[in-house]
Amino acid sequence: MSRTSSAVILLLLASLGIGVTWLVQYSSAPRIAAEQRRIDSRNLLDLLPSDSYDNQPLEQPLHLDNTALTNSTLLGGYLATKAGQPGAVLLRSQTIGYAGAIDLLIAIDAHGKLLGVKSLKQSETPGLGARIAEWPNAWLQGFTGRSLNEPADNGWALKKDQGQFDQIAGATITSRAVINAIHDALRYFDEHSRQLIGSSPHE
């Protein structure tokens, strides 16, 4: 039991520790990544009816241009197809709520109708704005079936702002941010539908 032998043991222990950890990490990384992809797609795709697509939308990311919108930023987009026909576009949108960024996933069908909206990330006030994260979410379901022209531009706002939509109780800023982000996404889809799905919803 000397200083030298202790140092040698420590050195051995350190290299053994690093080696074993690296080996375990190396052998488990592919399985963990595959599982992560499965969880991600389950989380993202429950917006779409499961029989409405037959591709792997997350492996078909869309190329988006001019992603800085009026009230929000598009972080990415995915295309869901069935039998080769575009069925829906999923847009990942980020807007600023009351306490920070809110990430939304907005699903729009080929005719420009909203299929659903869900929040992916938020840091709003617990019990108030944070209710946006609840899933299924009655307030967000209220937007399903709406489109850019249904209601018209001035209807895309809270009732408090002379619009058509209710707000989450006690969370005006959060609600307003989400409505504006959804409106932005619908407008973006309308302006870029040819690029996104290869046709125009007005045809």
Binding site: S6, R31, I32
Partner: protein
């Protein structure tokens, strides 16, 4: 109660509040705690006599980090969802190993060691079960950290109020 026992117990408080919002999380963290602590104890028993006292801490840190990293990776392979839910509390087990080594836990009688592990497990599972049941009943506070503190406080109060012939301390 000595100062080092205080350190040891307050470190247990983190998973006790943070990782008991559901029964599965609590049970998993406790099982991981038992596995890592046992492997760490065995490893340190073999190393202790071969090291000068000054290098024992470093050896403990290296061993604890290796074991916890491997256990975390194994948990991710086994169930990534559980791992994401348990957050960083599983990683704190490494710190617990080092503190337990420092407080002389591994040199104490096996009865003492067993007592601590069982007590920790009973508290984790009990609190996890209680919070999950209350959460299912619609008491959302129970699933949040403040609710965990309140429930733990109530449990301790009940324990103190329980009539016992010989008080433990």
């Amino acid at each position: 109660m000595s100062k080092s026992a205080n350190l040891q117990n307050s470190l247990m408080l983190a998973p006790l509040i943070g990782a008991t919002d559901s029964l599965v999380t609590a049970l998993g963290v406790w099982l991981m705690f038992i596995v890592v602590i046992s492997a760490f104890g065995a490893g340190m028993a073999a190393l202790r006599s071969r090291l000068i006292p000054a290098s024992r801490l470093l050896a403990g840190i290296l061993l604890a980090a290796t074991l916890t990293s491997c256990a975390e990776l194994a948990a991710q392979v086994w169930s990534l969802q559980w791992h994401q839910h348990s957050g960083f509390y599983a990683g704190l087990i490494a710190l617990q190993c080092v503190v337990l080594e420092y407080t002389g836990f591994f040199q104490s009688a096996w009865r003492e060691r067993l007592r601590l592990c069982v007590l920790f497990g009973a508290l984790m599972v009990g609190l996890g079960l209680l919070r999950e049941l209350l959460g299912d009943e619609g008491v959302r506070l129970a699933t949040l950290a403040p609710g965990g503190f309140i429930l733990l406080g109530l449990l301790i109060a009940a324990w103190q109020a329980w009539p016992r012939p010989t008080p433990s301390h």
